[in-house]
Structure formats: C-alpha cells, structure tokens
Assembly symmetry: C2
Homo-oligomer: 245 residues x 2
DNA sequence: AATTGGGGTTGACGGTTCGTCAAAAAATAA
DNA sequence: TTATTTTTTGACGAACCGTCAACCCCAATT
C-alpha cells in the first residue's frame, strides 16, 4: 500500500514537473517551439515517459489550460464573496477578471491556443469536458449574483430576458477585450486604446447601467469600490502586481 | 509589356486558385489537415510552385484571413451608409457584423487561427500590417459614426472619454461573442444561450443605452430598423441567408 | 548472495510534413 | 533550329510526432 501511494505521488509530481517545464518552453519558444523532445530534455525524462503521462502534445497544452481555468474560477469565486450591494459584488467579478489577466497574461495566451478547433479535436473527451465546465463555472458565479440582484429589487429584467443574458454580455465583453489584448498586444495601445483594461471597466459599468442595475454608475463611486475590492478581497494579488511594477 | 502583364495575370490567377483550394481543404480537414502536399495535388501544381507564391503555410492562411477581413470591412462600410439617425447607423454596424458571421462563419474561424502568436510570427511584416489595418478599418467606421452622434447632440461623452471608447466596447463585445460562438459551438447553445446573436443584439442595445445614445432602445423600435436595414442595405446577403435556411 | 519476475524507462525507428534545390521542362531569343 | 533564360518539378534533408521492443531496476524469493 505505502509503496503504491509513494509511486502515485511520484507520478503526480512528475506530471507537475512536465507541465511546469512545458509552460516555460511555451513562454520562451511559443507553441511551435514546444516539442516533445525539448520537453523530454528539459524535464530530464525520456520521451516515452512523457507519453505515459500525456497522450499527445495537445493534452499537455490542455492540461495547462485547465490549470489556468482553475485559477480563474477561484478568483471569480472570491470576487463574488465581497460584502456589499449586488452590483458591487458584480464589480467584484470584473476586478477578479482584471486581476487574473494581469497576473497570468501568458496563461491566458496558452489557454487561447486550445480554442483552435484542430487542437480541441485531439484532446480527450474528459479533459475537454473539464475545461468547458471550468469555463462555465465563472458564468455561473455571475449568474447567481444577477439572480440575487433581481430578488433584491436592484435589477429588473424585462419579460423573457433570462438572468444569463446579463452574465453572457459581461462575459463576452470581457473575453473580447482579453482576446484582443493578448493577440494584438502592442498594436492595440498604438491605435488609440492606451488602457484597454480601464476601457473595459468603463464599458462594463455602462452595460450594467443599460440593464438598469442600481445604483447606477452615475450615483455611486465604483472606482472607490474597486480600490476597496482590491485591498480587501485580493490583497496578496495586489501586492504581487505592485511588486512587479 | 503585353507578355509581362499576361504572365502577371496568370500568376495572380494561380494565387487565387491556390487560395481557393486551400480554403476548401481548411474547411474539409481542419488546420492540421491542410498540408502543402495536399494543396499541391488539389491545385494540380507542384509543391515548389506553391512555394513561389507563398513563403510558407502560414502565409496562405494569412492571405485567407485578409480576404475575410476585406469582406468584413466592405460590409461594415455599407452598414454605415444607412440613412437614418446616428444610432440607427450604428445599428447598421451590428447588422453588418451579424450578416458577416452568418455568411462566412468558416472564414472567421480561419481568421482566428492567425491570431495564435506562433503563427503571426511566421507571417511577413507587410501582410501582418495589412491584416491589422483592415481590422482597424471596421473600428474607424464605427468611430466616425460616434463622432457624428456627438456633433448631432444625440450622444454626449463625459470629459476625458474619447469616441473610441464607444466603438472599442462594441467591437470587443461583438468580437467576444463571435469567438465564443465559433470556438465553443454547440456547447454555447446547450448551456443556456440558445440564440447568441439575439443576445448580442440585446447587449449592444443596452451598452449604447448606457452611453445615453438617443433615442434609447426603450423609446424606439430598433427591431424594426434591423429588419429594414437587412432589406435595404443587405438585400442580396439576406436572400443568400434565407436561401440556406 | 544469487536469481527471477514484472513494472518502469528508454531512445531508436517508421511515418509525416515542411521547405529547398538541382535538374528537367518550357518559354523565349537568337 | 539552336542557345539562353525562366519556370516547374519532385526527390531530399531536417524536424517532429508517437510507438514499441529492448533494457533496467528493484523487490520478492530461493
């Protein structure tokens, strides 16, 4: 028994090592520069051993995406726990997203790779399922807040408009900004959008205003709430971010 | 001279043929199934000849993306020409985007592939530049409408908020929806978002409402405007779409 | 201490694909 | 017709993926 669990632990540690090494390679040399041979050399195991852990290269990238998605869900969950009005809690989602992107821009980039259809095709069904589930976890957190808002009377949705509509809009807006930020990089800044994350925040506010979610951004100092959120809900992350700058 | 131009014409025709064949292969077999050998066989030229037209595979995909982006800009330009209030013209952008995605979903998918950093790296600087320029062409059309709206007094932007903010928000929202639609496909429908394009429209309206762009969606029947836009500005496209369904 | 059995590890190998380049073919000029 | 230039071709080297027979290690047994 004891032998077995030690073995299992060793195997898990090695999976972690492979992923760590792979992420580094992905950062340094890009997706096309990530080869199984290089992973083998860098991890100091043979190629065959790598293949005992992951069926193919895509599985490795997918596993990295799972790690990323797990981190994001965790941040979103925390963001939703903020004590305040429902709209303030929803702002917590926005702050969580921003923290996520600023802390792990490269993780998000790697995650994007797995969105290419030709790569998803080669990923095992379970992992693909897992990935999808994590993704929707974020939306679910947001939707729950929307429902709370409706119950609290701070938001009223017209007939036939399900609460998912709101989270869907926010999700897509945020996702769009992130994607463009990550894939265009510099050009975005050069072409009149110097602070995309600030713009995102502004647009998120206006979208919620459009829904009529009270208190409206004109009636409340959400910039101050944002500062408080960062300090109270994401203190370590804030420190990390400031440590870099 | 005449000989030269005939040669040039032949070369251009062949480039077109290669692209046509490549797009078909891309559709049928996905990105990983698109190989230079297959392109050679399908186009009935040798591999060497293909390489005289395109430096590498990525260049071919990028050229396809350029075609796509050109189509989109054209649709956006047309959408902006609608005779109506500034907000109705902005709705024209939204309709153009919808028409684009519904007519050429696979083109958009192919375009997405070029967003992977490792692919952009291998694309020639000129083509990458061209791609970027076409992309921003769409935003520019939208920004011009925003400026018209401000001048017409139908939209007032707070101090320090440039008109690009509005187009940026719309762009990202739309882009996010498209990306999720194309990369998630079915799952999106299965998870509570049966009609993403309808939801997008709704969110676009609310975002503009949030900006205070009059007439607000509560005061105006934009669904009717949308129908008119389709009929008056995109008649052939509408016919094509209906012909499919 | 020597033997044996089996799970774990390895890297050489077959199969693909990319991109090149010397040779062949075609077009043009003499 | 012959010489010269241009274009086309596909065989080839290099890089990579994923496999598998051989090898190694170690723990249980004699």
């Amino acid at each position: 028994m004891a032998t077995l669990t030690r073995k299992q632990r060793e195997i898990r540690d090695r999976s972690d090592l492979i992923l760590r090494v792979s992420r580094e390679l992905l950062l340094e040399r890009g997706y096309l520069g990530l080869t199984m041979d290089r992973i083998a050399v860098a991890s100091e195991y043979s190629k065959g051993t790598i293949y005992q852990h992951f069926r193919n290269k895509e599985e490795i990238v997918a596993a990295l995406a799972v790690q990323t998605a797990e981190k994001r869900v965790e941040l979103f969950r925390r963001g939703g726990t903020f004590l305040g009005s429902t709209r303030e809690r929803m702002l917590g989602m926005g702050v969580a997203a921003e923290v996520f992107l600023r802390l792990y821009p490269d993780h998000f980039k790697a995650e994007q790779i797995t969105r290419a259809a030709s790569i998803r095709e080669k990923i095992s069904a379970e992992r693909a399922q897992h990935l999808l589930q994590l993704e929707h976890g974020c939306v679910d957190v947001a939707t729950a807040i929307v429902q709370d808002a409706v119950q609290a009377g701070e938001l009223s949705l017209p007939e036939g408009v399900p609460p998912e509509t709101v989270s869907f809009g926010l999700w897509c807006l945020t996702y769009g900004v992130f994607t463009l930020l990550v894939t265009e990089g510099r050009p975005l800044a050069e072409l009149g959008f110097p602070e995309p994350l600030r713009l995102l925040e502004h647009n998120q506010n206006l979208l919620l205003d459009g829904h009529g979610w009270t208190p409206l951004s004109a009636d409340h100092d959400y910039a101050a709430v944002r500062t408080r959120l960062l300090a109270e809900v994401f203190p370590e992350e804030l420190a990390q971010l400031e440590g870099r700058a």
